[in-house]
Structure formats: C-alpha cells, structure tokens
C-alpha cells in the first residue's frame, strides 16, 4: 500500500525548510513521486479529505502542478466514511474531483510496479513525509486513460522544486548532467541517394574505398564545374606540389632514398611518446594511464630536469654505421649543419642554455649564475655565448637574404606577367650566379655568400617548390598545360642532377657532423671525448658476477668455501653468532672524534682556503685543488710570511699539531687575516673574527701540550699585513702594482676586525645579514655578474 500524505501544502513542500537539497536531487525525488503517481493511475485509491471524509475509487487523474498539494480525480467514487459536514454526501457522480487543499491523505492499494524481485526492498525515504513501501511485482501496463488535470494552475512551481533551498549554488558537471537520462539515437547507416554521383555508387565495386587521387574513374571536378557552371579553372596542381618524375632515369634510386628516409624516421621509435606510437599504429599498453599520461602530461618518469636535452644529447647509433641521418629539408641548408666549427660549438652549446630557464623556473636566474665559481667555467660559457650569437646572426642573415630574393622574384614576376614562370626563375638563377657584390666583402661574409651560391635556389625553403615533370607523366595525369611541363622538363632535368651532386657532399658532411655533434652532445662538454660510460674497459659478460651475488654475500657458503679450500680435517662448523662482539674491528685505539683536526688546524686551513678562494675570485687564478689540509700546498704562501719550518698542519697529526702550533704559526694565520680586507666582505664567517678570543680561550687546553699562547693581536697587526701580502704576492704571480689598488680596503679591514673582536660574542657571527651582505659585495667586486 502506498500512502501519499498530501496534507495541506503537500508532503514535499511541507518538508522543504528542513530538507536541504540541491535542485537536482530534489528534482529526482519529484520525478520519483511523479512516476509513482503515474504508475498508480488506474489503481484503487482512497482519499481522505481534510474534513474527515473518505472516498474510495479508481484513481483517474492527479494534478501534480497544483501549487498547494495534489488535486485528485477519482472514478466511480464511493463514500466510505462521511465527513463532519460533507456536502458531497449522497450526490456522487461518475467522477469525483478533490481539490488539493481538501486532500489529507491518499492511499493507493494494489499498486503494481517494478521488476520481478519477490522480496520487499526498502526504497529511499524522502525526508520523513513521503515514505513509501512498495511491494514489487511484475509491472502492469500503464493505464492509458485520459488523465485530465482537474485544475490547471498556471505556472505554479512544482512542489519539489519549491523545496530546494538555493537554486543558484555552484554546480559541477556531474551535478548538471547527473540526473539526466542520456538517450542515444539509434545510428543509421548512410546510404547514397539515387542521384548521387557514380563515384560513390556502392555498386561500383572498383571505386569502393578509393580516395580522390587513386580513383580510376574520371571524376574531374574542373570539367564538372565547367560543364555545370561554365567556370574555367586555372588550377594547376604543380603550383602546390612537386610532381614525382616516375620515368626519370634516377627514379628508382630516388625512390629507394625516399624509402630509406621514411624508414629512418619511422624506425626512430616512438621514444616513449605514446601518442606518437599510437599515431604510428604501434600497440601500446596504455593500461594504467589516464588521458593526461597519454596525451597531455609531461612524462616525468625519472624526473629529468633536462628533458630538453634529450633531443640534443642523444647520440646517434646510426652515425657509426655510416648511414645518412635524416634532416628535415627546412634545416638542411642551415649553416650549423654544414660548418664543423659551428656544429661543435652548437653541440656543446645546446646543453646548458635551455635548462635553467625552462626547467627550474622557481630558482631565480641570479642564484644560478652566482653559484658558478669564478674563473674558467665562466669564461667558457661566455665564449659559447658569443658563438651562439654569431651563429644566430648568420642564420638570420641568410634567411634575410632568402627573403630578399623572394621579394625580388615576386616583383619581377609582377612586372612581367607575359614571361613564363620558368623563364623568370631561370633569369633569377642566372642573376644569382652572376651577381657580384659591388663593394668589398667583409671576411666573414665570404662564408655566407659561398653557401648561398652553393645552395640551389630550389632548396631554399622560403621559395615555392619548382615543378619539374617529364612530359609523359604530365600528360598521363594532367588535363592540360603540357606546355608548362615540357618547358620545365629541360631545366628541371639538369637542375635535379645538379641538386643531387650538391646534396651528397652535404649529406656526408652532415653525417660526419652528427657523429661529432653526438659525442660532444652526450658528454656535454667539449673537453671530454670519452664516448662511453666505461671508458676503455667495457664490462664483459657477467655470468660470473651472477655467481658472485648468489654464492657470495653469503656468510655460510663463503665460510664453507674457505673451509674447503683449507683442506683441513676439522669438520666444518658455522661460526656461532655469539662470537661476534658488539664493536667493530678497528685499526687504531682512538675515538673517531680525535681523528678530526683540532680546532686551530681547522681554522688555519679554512683561512688559507678563504684566501685562495678570494684570490682566485679576484684574479682568475687557476683553480687549485685543495686537499683537506690545504697547508702543504702553500708552504710559500702561508709560511712565506717568514715563518720558518711550516708546522705540521696535517689533520691526522693532531697531538703533534697542538704541540707545535707555535707563535710563528699564529703569525702566519694572522697574516692571512691581514690581507683579507681586500675582499670587502663582512665577516659572516666565524673563523675570521674570533681568532683572538678563541686563541685566548683555547689557551688552557693548548698549554699543556707545550704550545705558547699567541702574542697579543695588535702586535701582529703591526707587522703582518705588508709582509704577508708581499710574501704571498710572489708565488701567485700577483703584480706588485696591484697592491696600491686596495689601500683603503687594507686599512679598513683590520679595523672592522678589531671592532668585531671587541664585540666578543661568537653569536654575532650567525647574523645572516652579514652573509647576505657578503654576497652582494662579492657580486660587486667580481664584476662579471650582471
């Protein structure tokens, strides 16, 4: 039994305020309700009015649009229970219309809807008002009675629709389309009409599946057009394409060549590009990939930052084999495909340029360059930059020239319309060959000019392709213009052979170039020529290694092996695990902490290194690889300040270093500090300043080792700077004249140092402002950072 409670304003609308529902959901519920009512038309129904009367009858119609509930029409009504003051009593006709505001409850019995499932299934409830429990049975035919809405309420909103709280909220696609029942039309096969052209006649077997070009029947749109509309076409296919000279003497050869190139392109592999593979008809296992992976997303497997390198860096496997590498025609006459010098530079150049900018946009370009050490690498970069620029210029010039030629040609063509095109081109060619620049050609122009001369006009990509067809083939396929093709034939024949001759050296050159470009590209450096990862010793067959891993790294098997090798009589016993001590074998009875250089050595070393770095930064000094103990490398530098017998600064001789770190050593150290101020760099680095206090502080610990405490700072300042500077100047080949350049700095530095020293606290050095300042200033002092 279905009970629809339509009291007052109707169940749905009465529940509205409490029922927060999107319009779509509400609509669905309304639809269900409608459906339910539609199904129940023709069922027996009992209507209870608000006055208490009950009418039984067959539900004939119901007006869903009623704005305050549900108007109900009953057929063959009978009164079951009389209401309080029912005016209908006794005068029931064939139909009974109960207005919506009179309907209190509508009970429907014997409703049969749904599928064959026997068990009662709970239906979702619609808030609490419209709960319905429907026994499922085989569905009856929907009643086809004329159901007339008893009362037309104009433009009354549906009850359920009125229930929606907010109709204007954000809706997703799913929200919008979610409720819709997508209906698909049945697709119908297209069949041609009677009058359709014969070419499409399905009965004409021969033509089926043919494209326009290969259609053997004579569909000629021009003649049809002319016949039908009287329009004469001036169309010549050769304006747009190159006719293949199938009867040419070298046709077979060219066909082979074309096939080879095609194979090469297709044989390059899809290179992981699934889309490309798909285009080529290669079946790809795209399971587990979504559309983004397939067609849109950047392939980040391996998270390569230099994805763009791929193309440049990929060495060609074919190059060794001597086969020619295919180069797209538009690139063929670009200079860098021919000029070995440019090739090598472009091969190397291609590498660093695109990466930082493209791949790591979040890193400001500034830091990238800043991190570059001074000196050599930067210089090479600069060179490379210049080379690129040069190269670009050349390309520009050339294309500019091509443009120029074209415009000229056009102008000529327009001025002399009577002259045939071939003649024009011929004339242009002659002009180009004979043309001499009437003034002194700059040296670097020679290169360019030679190239333009060599490159046949036809190969200039900016010019339209030139038709060269044999007369026969032209006649065979063409409906006119034999005059054109025959005249083209003479010139085209010579031209093409010319072209071939030109091309082959070009190809060879490119071939050689690609080898070189490949090697330099893969190693990403011009210096290294190692073509392989392993250098000279290639890994050999690894059958033995397999054994290494299966039988080796196995304490039992190896022990047994060793035991067997010993050939002892004792039975083999696996070592008991409790023999292993919880400590590791050691070669020296010291803690690892003692293996670190002591604090003085560290500071000395780092001072030395700081000097080196700054000097190299300033003077472009050749790089020196400094060991963990930079000292031994600079006996002259550090000790040259007049310290006799450089003390052992080696990190491992700690005890000794402590014992021998005497006064002169400190002197050298301070001397180092003395010239530091050349670099107008704030002392963010702690090793510098705390020298005095530190030495003092550590005095107690050093003392027992027999070292003397350092002399007071001012003394050192007094004598050190000049001596240190002069002493160091020599070994590094510093020009003496350079010295006066920094007097101010020299003077200023120590003072700053002193000030800091008086500040006393080491904490001060953690101020990062200082560091930033240093970066800024080092930038200035280096000068080569834009």
């Amino acid at each position: 039994m279905t009970t629809v409670n339509a009291t007052g304003k109707g169940g749905a609308s009465s529940a509205a305020p409490a029922f927060k529902e999107t319009p779509e959901v509400a609509k669905k519920f309304k639809d269900r309700f409608d459906y339910l009512l539609a199904e129940s038309l023709g069922s027996k129904a009992t209507v209870t009015t608000t006055k208490g009367a009950k009418y039984k009858g067959v539900l004939a119609a119901a007006n869903l649009e009623a704005n305050d509930g549900l108007d109900v029409v009953l057929k063959a009504p009978e009164l079951v229970v009389a209401g309080s003051n029912d005016e209908n009593a006794g005068k029931l006709g064939e139909t009974l219309l109960v207005h919506a505001n009179d309907v209190a409850q509508l009970d429907i019995t014997g409703l049969k809807i749904g599928g064959p499932a026997a068990a009662p299934v709970k239906k979702p409830s619609y808030a609490a008002a419209a709960a319905a429990s429907v026994p499922k049975k085989t569905s009856t035919a929907a009643p086809s009675k004329k159901s007339v809405p008893a009362k037309k309420s104009a433009a009354a909103p549906a009850a359920a629709a009125a229930a929606t709280p907010s109709g204007n909220g954000f809706r997703t696609d799913v929200d919008i389309s979610g409720g819709k029942n997508v209906r698909q039309r049945e697709l119908q096969r297209w069949t041609p009409d009677e009058g359709d052209d014969a070419a499409f006649d399905p009965n004409a077997q021969a033509n089926q599946g043919q494209t326009l070009e290969e259609a053997s029947s004579t569909w000629d749109q021009f003649s049809v057009n002319e016949k039908k509309f009287g329009i004469k076409s001036t169309y010549d296919e050769h304006f747009y394409t190159t006719k293949i000279n199938k009867s040419g003497p070298d046709y077979q050869q060219r066909l082979k060549e074309a096939q080879r190139i095609a194979d090469e392109i297709e044989g390059q592999g899809a290179a992981g590009n699934i889309h490309l593979a798909e285009d080529r008809g290669i079946t790809v296992d795209d399971s587990g990939m979504d559309e983004e992976d397939l067609y849109s997303g950047v392939d980040r497997r391996g998270d390569e930052l230099l994805a763009s390198l791929k193309t440049n860096a990929k060495p060609s496997a074919d190059a060794k084999g001597g086969a020619k590498k295919y180069v797209p025609p538009t690139l063929r006459n670009q200079p860098h495909h021919m000029d070995p010098a440019i090739i090598s530079s472009s091969g190397a150049k291609n590498v660093p340029v695109p990466t930082p900018a493209h791949k790591q946009p979040q890193v400001p370009a500034q830091t990238q360059t800043q991190a570059q050490p001074a000196g050599k690498p930067r210089a090479t970069l600069k060179n490379a930059d210049e080379e690129t620029k040069k190269q670009l210029k050349e390309i520009k010039r050339q294309s500019g020239r091509g443009e120029h030629d074209r415009i000229k040609a056009k102008a000529q063509a327009q001025s002399g319309p009577k002259v045939s095109k071939e003649e024009q081109i011929e004339a242009l060619k002659n002009f180009a060959q004979k043309f001499k620049v009437p003034y002194d050609v700059p040296n670097d122009m020679g290169n360019v000019l030679r190239k333009t001369n060599n490159v046949p006009l036809k190969d200039d990509p900016s010019l339209p392709p030139k038709p060269k067809v044999s007369a026969q083939s032209a006649q065979a396929s063409r409906n006119g213009s034999s005059k054109h093709s025959s005249s083209g034939n003479t010139s085209g024949g010579t031209h093409s052979s010319n072209n071939d001759a030109k091309r082959s050296p070009q190809g060879q050159q490119h071939n050689g170039a690609s080898t070189r470009g490949g090697s330099s590209g893969t190693t990403h450096t011009r210096k290294r020529q190692t073509g392989s990862f392993f250098g000279s010793k290639k890994p050999l067959n690894n059958g033995a290694k397999r054994e290494t891993f299966n039988k080796g790294f196995n304490v039992f098997l190896k022990a047994k092996e060793a035991h067997d090798a010993e050939d002892s009589m004792a039975p083999f016993l696996i070592e008991k695990p409790y023999f292993a001590a919880p400590t590791w074998t050691s070669t020296v009875e010291k803690s690892h902490k003692t293996l670190f250089p002591d604090i003085q050595t560290v500071f000395q070393e780092s001072q030395a290194r700081m000097q080196m770095r700054q000097m190299s930064a300033m003077g472009g000094m050749p790089p020196v690889n400094m060991g963990p103990n930079g000292m031994p490398q600079f006996p002259g530098a550090m000790m040259g300040a007049g310290v006799p017998g450089g003390p052992g600064g080696a990190p491992n001789s700690n005890g000794a270093a402590g014992a021998t770190s005497p006064n002169p050593m400190m002197g050298g150290f301070q001397g180092a500090g003395g010239y530091m101020p050349f670099q107008p760099q704030p002392m963010f680095y702690p090793g510098m300043n705390p020298m005095g206090p530190m030495m003092g502080g550590k005095d107690g610990s050093v003392g027992p080792n027999g070292s003397t405490s350092p002399p007071p700072m001012p003394d050192q300042m007094g004598y050190m700077p000049p001596g240190a500077y002069m002493g160091m100047g020599d070994p590094y080949g510093y020009p003496m004249g350079g010295m006066p350049q920094f007097p101010g700095a020299m003077m200023g530095g120590p003072q700053g140092m002193m000030g800091n020293e008086h500040g006393g606290s080491h904490r001060g050095y953690q101020g990062h402002g200082g560091h930033r300042g240093s970066r800024g200033s080092s930038k200035n002092s280096h000068g080569h950072r834009a």
Binding site: K20, K123, P124, S125, G169, D175, A271, G272, S287, G288, M289, R300, R301, E304, L305, L306, K314, P315, A317, V351, Q362, T367, A371, T522, T523, T525, R528, P539, N542, K545, F549, F553, V555, F556, K558, A559, I574, E575, P577, A580, T583, W584, S586, T587, S591, H592, L595, F596, V602, R609, M612, P628, Q681, Y685, P686, P690, Y765, Q766, H768, S778
Partner: protein, 775 residues
C-alpha cells in the same frame, strides 16, 4: 636520503651527462632501491598514497617493465635496499605534509553539508616534496623483493647504508656501474654514477665526479663539507647557517658560500659551539663525516665489516695528476703514491650502530629478517612510528602498548638469546611517536628462554617442494587435530650437531611451518606444555584450524588470521567506533537517514581493508577515507608484529642450526623461504573498501539502482582504466565478505566475539549481496 638539493643543482648547472642505455650492455648495474623508487614515484604520482595505504601499485608495474628493459639491454641489475633507521628521507617534512593534508581533508569533509552521495574530493597531496618523495622502505621493500625474487634478480638489503654498500661493490668490481642518489659523489670508489634512467627513452643520466669537481673548481673535501652542511644520507640534518634557506636552494647557497667566499662549514660549527644545541651540530657533523668514512658493509665473504671510504685520496690523486700535468717536461710524472689506508677508530659503534653477528646481517640481506627488530637490538631503541592516519585513536595506542607484552619482549628474547651476552643484558626501550620521552623498557630476559620452551615443537613434512602458506599449514595441523601432541612434539631437540640431518628441518616448508606453530603457541592460539606433552588449540586456535573447513579461500587465510589476532587483542571490536571518533566519509544524510545501513557499511569497509583489489595502477585522485584507513593501520600494526614474531622464531631456529643453512644459495633463500613467509607484504590499500562504501551509499540514495552506483564508483576511482574488470572485483570481494561472515559467525558461536557483531556482519553481507545483485 640524497644530498639535499644537490641533484637539482647538478641539473641546473648542466653537470649531468646523458648516454643511451645500450652503453650499459653486459654491465652489472648496482641500483640503490630507495633512489630507484624515488625516481619512479616522483612528483604527482600517487600523491594520495599515504591516505590509501599499501604498496604503490604503480611501482611494481614500473618495476616489471624496467626489468624487461634491463633484460633486453643485457644489463644485470642488482638492487640494494636500505632498511636501517632514518632511511626515510625527510621524514619530518613528510609527516608535516601528511598532517596538513589530513587537516585539509577533514575541513573539506566537514564543510560538505550538501553532500549526499557524490563524495567530495581531496585536493591536498599527502606526500611532501616534489624533489625527493619520502617513503619509508618498509612500505615497498617486501613487495619489491618478492617481485625481484620471482624474476631471479639479485636483491640485497644493505646492513647500513645502501650507497656505501654499492661503493664497496664497485670497489671490488662486483658491479660495473652504480645507479644511485647524489650521496654517491661522496664515496671514493664511485667515480661516476647514474643518477637517472629514462627507460622510455632508453637513455640514462650520469654524473662524473672528476668533471664535477673540475668545473666547480672544488675539492672533494669541500664537497663533503658542503654535503654535511646541507644534509645527506650520513648526516640528515641541515646545519647552520643554511637552515634559513629554502630546501631546494641549499646547494646553491652552500656552494656559493664555500667556493666563492671560502666558508668551511665545519669551522663554522666549531666557532659557534657555545650551547648544547649548537654543540650538537659539531657532533652531528663529526658523526656524519665519520659515518661516511667508516660505514660497515657486507663483504663478498658474507661478513659485515667497516668499509673505509677515503675520499681525501681523491683529492690527493687529483693533485698528483695536476702535478704530473704541470711537470710535463719531465719524462716520468711522479707516481701516484697510494695513501696509507684510513685508520679505523675504535668507536664505530658510536656513529653507526653496534655490531650484530654476521648471520643476522645475512638474514637481513636476503629479506628474511626485517630491520626494525635488529636495529632495536643494536641501537637500544624500538621506534614505534606514527601510522599513516596519525595514530590518535585509543585503540591503536592500546594495541601499541599491548604489543610490548604480546610480541616485543618475546621477540627480543628469541633474538638475543643466541648472540653475544652483551645484548642479553642490554636494555632496549620502546619509544612511541606520541610521547618520545616516555619510553617503555622491553624485557628480554625470561627463564627458561622462549626458544627453550618451544624447541620441542617441530612440524615436518616429507615433500621437499611443498610451498608454505597458511592454508597448507592449517591443512597439516587440521589433519592431525586429534593428536596434535603426538604429531608435533618431539622428545629430543633437533638443533645439536649430533642430530642426524634427516631429523632436522629439511626444507622451507618445515622451517616456516615450525616457526608458525611456535609463533602461534606464543600468541595463545595453542596451549602447549612440554612436561605434560600436551598441545591443544584454544578456542581461537580451533577457529584457525577450521579455516579450510569454513571454505575460506587460501589467498585470504593470511589476512583472516590477522583479523583474528586483532579481534583477540580485544582493543577494538569490529563495529566499534573509534575514540576519539573519526569523521566518516559517508554523508551526513546517509548517517542520519540510514543509521543501520551506515553501521553495516562500516563493518563492510573494515573487512574490505583486507581485500586486495587487482588494479594495474592506482594514481588515485578523489575521495579518501580516513576512518577506514585508521582501521587498516590497526591491522597493519598487527601484521608488522606478526611478521616480527615469525621472523624472530625462524631466525632463532636458524641460528641454532635446526636447519641446514648451506642448502640454498642467496636466490634460493629468497625464492623458497622469504617469498613464502606470510605477513611480509604490505596490506592492501583502502581502495576496495572505499569503492564499496560509495557504491552502497549511492545505491541507498539512488533508488537502489545498482548500475548508477557502479557508474559512480567507476568515475570516482577511474576504475574503467585501472581495474580490468570492476564487476569481477566486486564479485570476488563479495565472496571474501561472505567468508568473513562465516568466520565471524564461527567466532560468535565460540563466544569469542559478541553475537551482535556476527549478526551485524550477517546483515551487512546480506545488504551488500542484495545491492550487488543484478536486477
């Protein structure tokens, strides 16, 4: 963990070369598995992995295809794993990101008040960092090891650092090339290494150290100094003054500081050694450098010993070369004098870990024993890591507490008994993530020792090729159910050398079945008393023995056993709400309108966390369900402990020579024993549970329309692409649920769970079956 931001630095400065993979033909390639994984799971891949749990399915898919490429190229890969503590890169960052993502999700969910049956979608990724995705090795190691073993590919778990192990292998030419993280730069024997492989393009990226040093104008010592300051595998913290810079620029800044202005970071730490915090930095620096120099590795002999990495020698060699070049005039360049070998200090245990027997390292190397327990013995701390959901629930914490008694004390006893007495005395603590200072002491001393009390239990079968599984094991026990004592108690222990080989454990099945029985005795599935010669199943054991009789399919029995152990722990009933409660992914409307059904869905989703949906890849972007994940983590905790327990029992059995350890080579160990050990693989993700939840919810709201609900699931989970046959998966999981139903009914009959639970489960399965039935 690689050197922070160095990889990016290398790429930015074009210090990375590229060659085709064919170059590596015939090479044996040592692969740092963690690095390999980080390359595969980079960026946007599997961002919701931590919200779903489980092993990344994509990883295994890629692994298979990469192995194919290796085969085609004639490359022999050797995977080296690292399972030691702190081997998760940037654990803090990943935790922070996870918390952030959970907060975002909770907000999304609680503000979605108009949500009825279209679940809201999570937006915040759960994995931190696009550069080095953090994933603890335990998440993928067992799964990967199993795949590798199946393919017969060599895989090895390093005793400490994988890159040190690779450096050793390179130094003895066991491998020809190394594919690893930037840490490899710091290891002297690796002069160049592969940093990335692009399998689709068939080329690889490599870094040449000589070139790097030359182009940067940098010495090896300086490089190490920089790496120690930025943080690397040996010293994971970022030290001052670099801490204030964004992580991705660390190397830029450090290189600038070191090379342009000559900063020495060690000197910096020393100069600032003023309070305990900053003094800690000096210590960290020193430990890092020492660990880099003296990390123990497994030698070819199978012994584990300190491998010295004399990186300073690289500089010496470079200087010698330099000198040789300068002295071109001289006919003979000065020969490169081999530096005297590095001295090994006597306190390597201070900065690495205490030494365990070689045998234990071997078990770890083949994947038989997982790292955590062994690390706990060596380091004295058993870390309980935070579960994926944050582990705020009382039941989870109760489980963690309980595990001390139920599992860890016993395991420690089993593992320390056979080894040096030092470890038997050593105090080991359990440290939990939510209260790191409040540690629990683990007791590893019991008399008699656990092994002594168990070693008369032996399960043997004559079939050498029989593969171990819970189902087979149950079958063997159930067949002898009437006289378990006679069948499985031996009068004489079998470990002494005097026992003839035939009486020992002869094959993998014997070993694992014996181990399993002993483990179950400890978990009180069986009552065992050697003096009285009794071995009887408890009520829980009786249910276990009925597994086959109940028709529980073999592939599900391992999971069902986990469920039994969880229920047995009494910390959480199947339908019990969490405390504090977790927001359900079901909509408010569902919970309010269909309270009964919602309860049923809860039970179903919990059971389904044990069902592995067969998907090819699961790059899931959509709704997630924390509540289900919390339950999954409960189960996963049980699984990890069961795994530890079984491992401890088996290792104890092996160390006492109950089994012929010379029988198998490494691959056979892995294929025959390790690959059949239960509880090793990560539990399934919550994917299937969620699919069911949303299916049923939609079904409820959508007028019981099954197809609509199925369509919703398909679109939310991209199921048409990732799952071969969604319907079949639903059918299989329904069967699984029915088996769960039988199990629960049986448990209720034995009064092990409340009857209401079983009834609820009955109703739930009925509901699910009805919903799935085609109309």
């Amino acid at each position: 963990m690689p050197v922070r931001s160095l990889e990016q630095f290398l790429f930015e400065h074009a210090l990375v070369g590229s060659l085709p993979i064919d170059t590596l033909r015939n090479a044996t390639l040592g692969i740092d598995a963690a690095h390999y994984v980080s390359r595969l799971l980079s960026g946007r891949k599997e961002q919701f992995l931590d919200a779903l749990g489980g092993c990344p399915a994509m990883l295994l898919m890629y692994l298979e295809s990469d192995l194919r490429v290796f085969r085609e190229c004639g490359i022999v890969p050797v995977f080296v794993f690292e399972d030691a503590e702190n081997s998760e890169s940037d654990a803090d960052a990943s935790l922070a990101q996870r918390h952030k993502a959970w907060n975002a999700w909770t907000n999304t969910l609680s503000s979605a008040d108009s949500y009825i049956d279209q679940p809201p979608t999570a937006t915040e990724p759960f994995r931190a960092g696009t550069t080095s995705p953090a994933l603890h090795p335990s998440r993928y190691m067992a799964d990967m090891l199993r795949v590798l073993a199946r393919h017969g590919v060599t895989a090895l778990v390093a005793p400490f650092r994988a890159c040190s192990q690779l450096a050793y292998m390179r130094s003895v030419n066991a491998v020809d090339a190394v594919y690893g993280p930037t840490d490899c730069l710091l290891l002297a024997p690796i002069d160049r290494f592969i940093i990335g492989m692009e399998f689709p393009n068939r080329d690889f990226r490599y870094v040449d150290r000589t070139r790097l040093l030359r182009e940067l104008d940098c010495s090896m010592a300086e490089l190490v100094d920089i790496a120690m300051a930025t943080g690397n595998a040996f010293q994971p913290r970022t030290l001052p003054p670099l801490q204030i810079y964004p992580p991705y620029k660390l190397c830029d800044v450090a290189v600038e500081m070191a090379l342009a202005s000559g900063t020495n970071f060690y000197a910096y730490q020393l100069a600032n050694e003023v309070d305990p915090v900053t003094a800690g930095y000096v210590d960290a620096y020193q430990r890092g450098v020492s660990a880099l120099k003296y990390t123990p590795v497994m030698l070819q002999s199978g012994r584990v010993d300190v491998f010295t990495n004399d990186y300073a020698a690289v500089d010496a060699a470079a200087r010698a070369r330099h000198a040789g070049k300068n002295a071109k005039g001289n006919a003979a360049a000065p020969p490169v004098t081999p530096a005297s070998p590095l001295q090994i200090p006597n306190d390597v245990h201070e900065f690495v870990a205490q030494r365990l027997p070689n045998e234990y390292y071997f078990y770890r190397a083949i994947g038989l024993a997982s790292g955590q327990l062994l690390d706990a013995i060596a380091s004295g701390v058993y870390h309980e890591r935070e579960p994926l959901d944050g582990g705020a629930q009382e039941s989870y914490r109760a489980l963690v507490k309980q595990s001390v008694q139920e599992f860890k004390n016993k395991e420690l006893n089993l593992l320390t008994q056979p080894i040096n007495r030092y470890f038997q005395m050593k105090q080991v603590k359990q440290q939990v993530w939510y209260a790191p200072d409040d540690t629990t002491a683990l007791l590893n001393r019991t008399t008699p020792s656990i092994f002594d009390s168990l070693n008369h239990l032996v399960v043997k079968c004559s079939d050498d090729d029989k593969e171990f599984s819970i189902s087979e094991f149950v079958g063997v026990l159930a067949a002898a159910q009437d006289n378990l004592a006679q069948s499985f108690i031996v009068d004489k222990v079998i470990f002494p050398d005097s026992v003839p080989a035939a009486e020992k454990l002869n094959n993998a099945f014997d070993l694992l079945a014996t181990g399993m029985l002993r483990a179950l005795v400890q978990l009180e599935f069986f009552d065992y008393d050697f003096d009285k010669r009794t071995l009887k199943p408890t009520n829980w054991g009786l249910t276990l023995l009925k597994f086959n009789a109940l028709g529980i399919s073999p592939e599900h029995q391992e999971k069902m056993l986990l469920l039994l152990v969880l229920l047995k722990s009494g910390t959480l009933a199947l339908s019990e709400e969490f405390k504090p409660s977790v927001l359900s992914v079901l909509s408010e409307h569902t919970l309010r309108t269909y309270p009964q059904e919602a309860q049923q869905i809860l039970v179903l989703s919990r059971l389904l966390t044990l069902f592995q949906v067969e998907h090819k890849a699961h790059n899931h972007h959509g709704p997630i369900d924390k509540k289900t994940l919390v339950f999954r983590e409960h189960l996963d905790f049980v699984r990890a402990n069961m795994n530890d327990m079984l491992e401890a029992v088996v290792v104890a059995s092996l160390t006492t020579n109950e089994f012929d350890k010379l029988k198998y080579d490494n691959l056979e160990w892995q294929q025959r024993i390790v690959a059949h050990m239960p509880f090793k693989l990560a539990l399934p993700s919550t994917a299937m549970a969620m699919m069911w939840e949303f299916f049923l919810q939609k079904y409820l709201h959508n007028g019981n329309a099954r197809d609509d609900a199925m369509a919703l699931v398909s679109s939310q989970f991209n199921a048409h692409q990732t799952i071969a046959d969604v319907d079949a998966q639903f059918d299989q999981s329904r069967e699984f649920l029915q088996q769960c139903q039988l199990l629960l009914r049986d448990l209720a009959d034995s009064r092990l769970v409340k009857n209401s639970e079983a009834t609820l489960c009955d109703d739930a399965v009925k509901f699910a079956t009805a919903a799935l039935a085609k109309e």
